[in-house]
């Protein structure tokens, strides 16, 4: 018994110790970011280049924008990269961070089943499409997780003048409370429409019968911003390496790394650090 316990303990310690030694380089920062940037594979593609140049390891926590900003506000991240301008404004107004820079944009699309029960496919008018989906009571999956995508979806329903809810008898509106990938899996499983950022959609591997139904509405623009934490309010944040990551993301090297990331020959994110704010 003792021998087994000791063997187990030695194995556990060796692995835990070995693991953390190998993975604790001198400098690392925590980046609070969104599920769309992780699920689309962008961060995995570009961050190793930054690490190779600077020796700074970036530890990515992928959450919805709302949660990512909350994580940073609690002091648990060094820099944020998110996509909900309204929530970002609030974060900045509360003094948690600033020096916001846009790094890339793409757009949102509404995807839906190939059968297109609401007859909206091909439309470029997202509000009209949402009205048609609601009128047809066609299944619609909502993130419901206060992410950037979820915030946009709620704004679109507000613009339509109707926030569907299960309590209001809208049993076709399915609030799944999950990330982008979970919402796409759910939509694929229940032949529903859902709002997705184009990056996650293009790289998503379980599309089943889903297809893009609505795209190209100017209201579906999706911009990603990097925000540094306020040095006074968050003295715990590793400012210097965080600033280097911010500077790299907007530099020509970082921007071309973002632009070079493609899936099936399509660019997922358009670099836009030079764009007017």
């Amino acid at each position: 018994m003792t021998r087994i316990l000791m063997a187990l303990m030695a194995a556990a310690l060796a692995m835990a110790g070995g693991g953390s030694r190998a993975q604790s380089p001198p400098q690392s920062i925590v980046l609070a970011s969104t599920t769309s940037l992780q699920d689309s594979g962008l961060l995995d593609a570009i961050l190793p280049k930054f690490t190779a140049e600077t020796g700074i390891t970036v530890r990515v926590i992928a959450q919805g924008t709302g949660q990512a900003l909350a994580t940073a506000a609690r002091g648990d991240a060094d820099i944020v990269l998110v996509h909900d301008p309204e929530a970002e404004d609030k974060f900045i107004a509360e003094g948690h961070g600033g020096e916001r820079r846009q790094i890339a944009w793409n757009d949102f699309v509404i995807v839906g089943p190939a059968g297109d029960p609401a007859h909206v496919a091909g439309s470029h008018d997202v509000l009209a499409a949402l009205r048609a989906i609601a009128a047809a009571r066609a299944p619609f999956v909502s993130r419901g997780d206060k992410s950037g995508t979820d915030a946009l979806e709620k704004r679109l329903w507000r613009a339509v003048g109707r926030q569907p809810s299960l309590a209001g008898g809208d049993d076709w509106y399915r609030d799944i409370g999950g990330g982008m990938g979970a919402a796409l899996n759910a939509a694929a499983g229940m032949n529903a429409y859902t709002l997705s950022d184009r990056g996650t959609w293009l790289s998503f591997a379980n599309k089943a019968s889903l297809k893009i139904a609505i795209e190209g509405d100017p209201g579906l623009l999706n911009r990603y911003d990097v925000i540094l934490l306020d040095a006074k309010k968050h003295p715990e944040a590793r400012q210097e390496p965080a600033r280097r990551l911010r500077d790299w993301l907007v530099s020509s090297t970082g921007q071309s790394a973002i632009g070079a990331y493609t899936k099936q020959g399509q660019t997922l994110f358009n670099p836009s650090a030079a764009a007017p704010k």
């Binding site: 018994m1 187990l8 310690l13 953390s20 925590v30 648990d76 990938g181 591997a205």
Partner: protein, 222 residues
């Protein structure tokens, strides 16, 4: 399925498996170190509050991982009481969370094993002049296979757990990503066959650990 074989051959995958085992075995070790004496003491000693403690330990068997994760998150967060430790989003926080989950399991199962033996042999051991404290090692030795099962149950809880470590570990690539959080991530990317393949590897690893422990135990018995 091509993804699966590529993933299996990558250095990243080896790190993920090593971290899964490292975190789970460390947490199980903590649970055994705490649960073995606690479970035995609950079986052998009589003290006020003992029954209440037994009820609590058994109730904690159903501790929801995500709640443990959330509570530890609030404790370990920089604005929380233990924020200065800077443990959040590290493997250390994951070991802590899983130790909290596994300790009640080991304690409750060791208690049950030793309590039965105490009913049967307690009188005889005391006739031999052993104090209750000194009787504990003999009882644990007698019930070694059931005690072993207690340890394996704790390990089973930790290696398969995802709710708590996702919250306190953050599923950071190359740092806090384990088998279970990688499966959750691949599922959300829609890579369902890769996720399922990793699931089978995880089950295989659990089986291998159990088999190893039981083989060692069988050798020791001889």
């Amino acid at each position: 399925m091509e993804d699966f074989w590529i993933t299996l051959g990558s250095g990243e995958f080896v790190r993920i498996v090593a971290l899964s085992l490292g975190v789970s075995l460390s947490a199980t070790t903590v649970a055994i170190v705490l649960g073995l004496p606690l479970g035995a003491a609950l079986a052998v000693f009589r003290f006020p509050g003992r029954r209440a403690l037994i009820v609590i330990v058994n109730a904690l068997l159903g501790l929801p991982p995500v709640v443990v994760g959330l509570a530890l998150y609030l404790l370990l967060s920089y604005s929380g009481p233990l924020g200065m430790l800077r443990l959040l989003f590290t493997p250390g926080a994951m070991v802590l969370a899983q130790a909290v989950l596994a300790t009640p399991i080991v304690t409750a199962l060791v208690h049950r094993a030793v309590a039965d033996l105490w009913v049967e042999y307690g009188g005889a051991l005391q006739v031999d002049g052993a104090t209750r404290l000194r009787a504990i090692p003999s009882l644990l030795a007698m019930g070694r296979l059931r005690v072993l099962t207690a340890g394996l149950a704790g390990f089973g809880r930790t290696i398969s757990e995802v709710g708590a470590i996702l919250v306190v570990g953050g599923n950071i690539a190359g740092y806090t990503r384990t088998m279970t959080t990688a499966i959750a991530l691949e599922t959300s990317k829609g890579n369902l066959s890769l996720a399922l393949g990793l699931g089978f590897v995880l089950i295989g690893i659990s089986v291998a650990v159990s088999a190893t422990v039981f083989t060692l135990a069988a050798e020791e018995k001889r």
